[in-house]
C-alpha cells in the first residue's frame, strides 16, 4: 500500500492520469505476496489467471476458461470426438464436516467441473499431499469416501500419486484430482454462450456448503445443523441434457465465490447482462440466519452440489420440472434472466423492487463487525 500512497502523491503534484482503460501490465494486484484472498474465488484470483497463468500458458484450449478444457481429438489428428479435462485441489479444513469430507469433495468437485462442461465424467486421478504424523485411519476414511463417491458418480480413479511433507508443512491432507470426460456430441455449452432472453435456473438452495464449513470451523452452533450439499451432479445434468440439451447454453457449479461469482463470470464471458430476482433465490432458513449473524451474503457463499443453468426461455419450465423431479434438484428455482441491458453486470431486483449491482468479490468475503 505504501507504493499506492507514494504514487498518489506523485500524481497529485502533476496531472491526474486517466485510468479508464486499466488492464495495466502492472503485476497482479496490489499485494507483492500471496494473500488468502488470492484463493477466495474473487478478483484477486482472477487477476492471477489473467496476468500470470494465461500469458504464460496461452493456448486456445485454456483461453476458454471453462470449468474444463475441451480437447478436440479430431484436430489433434486422432479419430475424432471431444474430451473434457479438468483439475482441482482440495485443502478444506476440517477434513470431515457435516454432509461430507475432503474425499467426497475431491471426487465430486472434479466430476462436477466436467459435468457442467457438458461432458460425461469417466476417469479421475488422485494425488495426495500428506503431512508427517497424519493418522492412517483418517486417510483410510478419506479414501473410503472417495471410493464411494466415485462409485456413485460412475467414474474410475485410474492413476494417482502420494507425497509426504514434514510435520508443520501441510495441513494433514491435501488432495488434487484431475478428470477426463467425454463430451456428448451435439452439446454446445460454455460460459460464453449465454444469450439475451435466456432463463436462469439453479438446482437448489445456495450457501449450504460454505456455511456448513464455517459453522464447524468457527465453532458456531445453530439450532439446526447446517449440512454441506456436496454431491455429484453428473446424473442430474445428464437427464437435463438428454431431454433438452439443445436449449442449454451455459452451465456452471457455483463453488468458491458462490452464485454471484458464477453469474458475474458468465455475464462477462458472454458479454451480456444478468438479472436475478433476489426473493426467488432458494436459501435455507438456517443458512440465511447464519449469514445474517456473520454479516455475510449467501450469494457469495460456496456450494458443492449445485448447478446453474442458462437455458432458452421456452424450455425453462420443462427443465425446471425435470430438475425438481431429481433427488438433487427438489428445490430448484428459476431465479432470473439474461438481458442485453447492462452488459457484463449482475443486477439483482430486491424484494423492495429496487435494483442493486452485485459485483465480484475482491477476495474472501469478510465477516462484518456489526
Amino acid at each position: 500500500m505504501a507504493e499506492n500512497v507514494k504514487a498518489a502523491s506523485a500524481v497529485s503534484q502533476t496531472t491526474v492520469p486517466d485510468f479508464s482503460g486499466w488492464s495495466c501490465p502492472l503485476p497482479l494486484a496490489d499485494y507483492p505476496t500471496i494473500v488468502m484472498g488470492h484463493g477466495g474465488g474473487g478478483k484477486l484470483g482472477n487477476e492471477l489467471v489473467e496476468h500470470l497463468f494465461l500469458p504464460a500458458f496461452r493456448n486456445p484450449e485454456l483461453e476458454n476458461l471453462g470449468d474444463a478444457a475441451v480437447l478436440d481429438l479430431g484436430a489433434a489428428g486422432l479419430s475424432g470426438g471431444r474430451l473434457a479435462m479438468s483439475t482441482d485441489s482440495f485443502v478444506v479444513q476440517p477434513l470431515f464436516f457435516p454432509g461430507g469430507s475432503i474425499g467426497e469433495l475431491a471426487v465430486n468437485g472434479t466430476v462436477n467441473d466436467l459435468a457442467v462442461s457438458g461432458a460425461e465424467p469417466r476417469f479421475l486421478s488422485a494425488s495426495f499431499i500428506l503431512e508427517e504424523g497424519f493418522a492412517l485411519n483418517q486417510l483410510a476414511a478419506i479414501v473410503d469416501d472417495m471410493a464411494r463417491a466415485a462409485a456413485v458418480a460412475g467414474v474410475k480413479i485410474v492413476t494417482g500419486d502420494t507425497k509426504v511433507v514434514e510435520r508443520g508443512h501441510g495441513d494433514g491432507c491435501y488432495i488434487c484430482t484431475a478428470g477426463v470426460g467425454l463430451l456428448r456430441p451435439g452439446i454446445q455449452v460454455g460460459p460464453h454462450r449465454a444469450q439475451p432472453g435466456d432463463a436462469i435456473l439453479v438446482s437448489g438452495t445456495i450457501g449450504d456448503h460454505g456455511m456448513a464449513i464455517m459453522s464447524v470451523r468457527e465453532g458456531l452452533e445453530f439450532e439446526s445443523q447446517i449440512r454441506s450439499d456436496c454431491a455429484a451432479l453428473n446424473g442430474l445434468i445428464t437427464e437435463v441434457l438428454a431431454a433438452a440439451g439443445g436449449a442449454v447454453h451455459a452451465m456452471r457449479d457455483p463453488t468458491r465465490g458462490g452464485l454471484a461469482s458464477t453469474l458475474n463470470e458468465i455475464a462477462q464471458a458472454s458479454g451480456v447482462g444478468v438479472e436475478i430476482d433476489e426473493p426467488s433465490l432458494p436459501v435455507r432458513p438456517e443458512v440465511q440466519s447464519a449469514c445474517e449473524l456473520l454479516g455475510l451474503d449467501p450469494v457469495y457463499v460456496a456450494n458443492e452440489g449445485k448447478a446453474v443453468f442458462f437455458v432458452a426461455p421456452e424450455a425453462a419450465d420443462q427443465i425446471l420440472e425435470l430438475l425438481r423431479a431429481h433427488p438433487l434438484g427438489r428445490e430448484a428455482a428459476r431465479i432470473g434472466r439474461v438481458t442485453a441491458e447492462h452488459p457484463r453486470l449482475l443486477v439483482a431486483r430486491t424484494a423492495m423492487g429496487s435494483n442493486r449491482v452485485i459485483p465480484t468479490q475482491i477476495g474472501e468475503q469478510l465477516p462484518r463487525i456489526c
Partner: protein, 380 residues
C-alpha cells in the same frame, strides 16, 4: 425468519415509500448515522424509493472506517511482532495503514486471526500462555460491552497475556460535532439502533433540543429504515425536533443497564481521533486506570509511527457528509475496494464501498451527474 422477513416486505415498503412521498413538501437532508444502515439502504435500494427531495447523507458510523491511521499502524506493528497472536474482526484486515494491511502482515508470517468475539481471544490467551494475545477492539457502543467483558474476565482470571488495542468511538459526540461543523447540511438524524440497544437514547433529547434537529432511533431492516425516515420527515415538515424511538422492539429509553455498568467499570471517556475527520473531544473510550494493564498501547509502547494518508482521497469529506462517494475524484478510478485509498472504501459498511459494491444500475442522466467514477463502474 421471525423478526427479519416481516421487516423486508416489499409491498409494505412501497406503501411506506408512497406515504413519505405524500407528506414531503420540501427537500430535506437526513443523515443515517450508522454504517450498517448505509449498507442496508444501498443493498435494498431504499434511496431509490424516496421522493427526489429527500437526500440521505451517509454518516461516519463505520468503526472500521473511522479507526485512526495511527492506530491501524500500531495494529500492524503489534501484529508483526513474534510471539503475538493478533485477533480482529474480519473486515479490519483489509483496512490500509500507512504501509500495508493486516492481510499483508499475515502473509509475511504474522499470526493474525479473525475472531467473532473478544471472548474467543480471551480463550486463545488461556490456551497459549506463552503468547501475547491482542484483540483489536474497534467499534461503537454496540461492540463495547463484549470488549469490556473480555478484559473484565481476563482480569478476574489473572491473565497476563491478554490485551485490547482500543479504538472505541461514541455516537452522540459525533452527532454534536457534525452539527457544529461549518457548512453542516444535516437537518435530521436516524440514530443507530444497535448503539441505542446498549446505551438507550436518553442522550438524544438534549441534543435534539439544543441543535433543533429531529433524531429518530432507527433499525436496519428496510421497513425500519423507511419508518425512521418517515418519522423524521413528519417532524421536519411540522417544524418539530424531538428524539423519538422507531425501533421499539429492541431499544428502550434506558438501554441495557447491565452493559452500561460494565462499560463504566472498564472504560473512561477520552478524546479520540477519527480517520478523515480529526480529533473529536470526548468521543471515545479508553481503558481506565484499573484496566490500564490490559491496554495494548501501554504494553507494546509502539513509537516512531509516521502516518501518511493519500492526498487524493476525500474520505474525510465523505465521512462528514460534505460529498457523496461518487463525487470524490478518485472514486472508482484510483480508489476501488481492490485498491482502496481511503477507509470508507474498505469496509462493506463504508459509504464508498457500499456505493461501489451496491452501486445502483444508473440511468444515463444519473451516470452523467455521478461522474466518471461510476461510468467506470458500470462499464466494468
Amino acid at each position: 425468519m421471525k423478526y427479519l422477513t416481516e421487516f423486508r416486505n416489499g409491498e409494505i415498503a412501497q406503501r411506506m415509500a408512497r406515504e413519505i412521498q405524500s407528506i414531503t413538501t420540501r427537500p430535506w437532508k437526513i443523515m443515517e448515522v450508522c454504517g450498517g444502515q448505509t449498507h442496508s439502504i444501498i443493498r435494498n435500494g431504499i434511496d431509490q424509493m424516496l421522493p427526489a427531495g429527500i437526500e440521505m447523507i451517509h454518516g461516519p458510523g463505520c468503526p472500521v472506517c473511522v479507526t485512526s491511521l495511527e492506530l491501524i499502524d500500531k495494529a500492524l506493528a503489534i501484529a508483526a511482532q513474534p510471539g503475538v497472536i493478533f485477533c480482529s474482526y474480519g473486515d479490519m484486515l483489509r483496512v490500509p495503514g500507512t504501509e500495508g494491511d493486516l492481510f499483508q502482515v499475515k502473509s509475511a508470517g504474522g499470526d493474525v486471526r479473525v475472531v467473532y468475539s473478544p471472548l474467543d481471544a480471551v480463550e486463545l490467551a488461556v490456551k497459549n500462555p506463552e503468547k501475547q494475545v491482542v484483540f483489536f477492539a474497534v467499534g461503537f457502543e454496540t461492540t463495547a460491552p463484549a470488549d469490556a467483558l473480555s478484559v473484565h474476565l481476563a482480569k478476574r482470571r489473572g491473565l497476563k497475556n491478554f490485551s485490547l488495542l482500543v479504538s472505541h468511538v461514541l455516537v452522540p459526540p459525533a452527532i454534536a460535532a457534525i452539527l457544529q461543523s461549518p457548512g453542516n447540511q444535516v437537518q435530521a438524524f436516524l440514530a443507530a439502533g444497535h448503539v441505542c440497544t446498549v446505551m438507550g437514547y436518553w442522550e438524544y433529547p438534549p441534543l435534539a433540543a439544543k441543535f433543533k434537529v429531529p433524531i429518530v432511533v432507527t433499525g436496519f431492516e428496510p421497513l425500519d429504515l423507511l419508518d425512521g425516515i418517515r418519522r423524521a420527515v413528519v417532524q421536519l415538515e411540522a417544524g418539530r425536533h424531538e428524539a423519538e424511538n422507531a425501533y421499539e422492539r429492541v431499544v428502550t429509553f434506558e438501554g441495557n443497564r447491565a452493559a452500561q455498568r460494565l462499560l463504566a467499570e472498564v472504560f473512561d471517556v477520552a478524546d479520540r481521533a477519527w480517520r478523515g475527520i480529526g480529533v473529536i473531544p470526548n468521543s471515545g473510550w479508553r481503558l481506565n486506570q484499573a484496566y490500564r494493564a490490559f491496554d495494548a498501547e501501554e504494553r507494546f509502547q509502539i513509537s516512531g509511527i509516521h502516518t501518511a494518508e493519500s492526498p487524493l482521497c476525500h474520505s474525510g469529506d465523505v465521512l462528514r457528509g460534505a460529498i457523496k462517494p461518487a463525487e470524490c475524484p478518485a472514486f472508482g478510478k484510483e480508489c476501488t475496494p481492490r485498491h482502496p485509498l481511503g477507509a470508507t472504501m474498505v469496509s462493506n459498511e463504508g459509504a464508498c464501498a457500499a456505493y461501489y459494491n451496491y452501486g445502483r444500475f444508473l440511468s444515463a442522466e444519473e451516470l452523467a451527474s455521478a461522474g466518471s467514477g461510476l461510468t467506470k463502474l458500470v462499464k466494468e
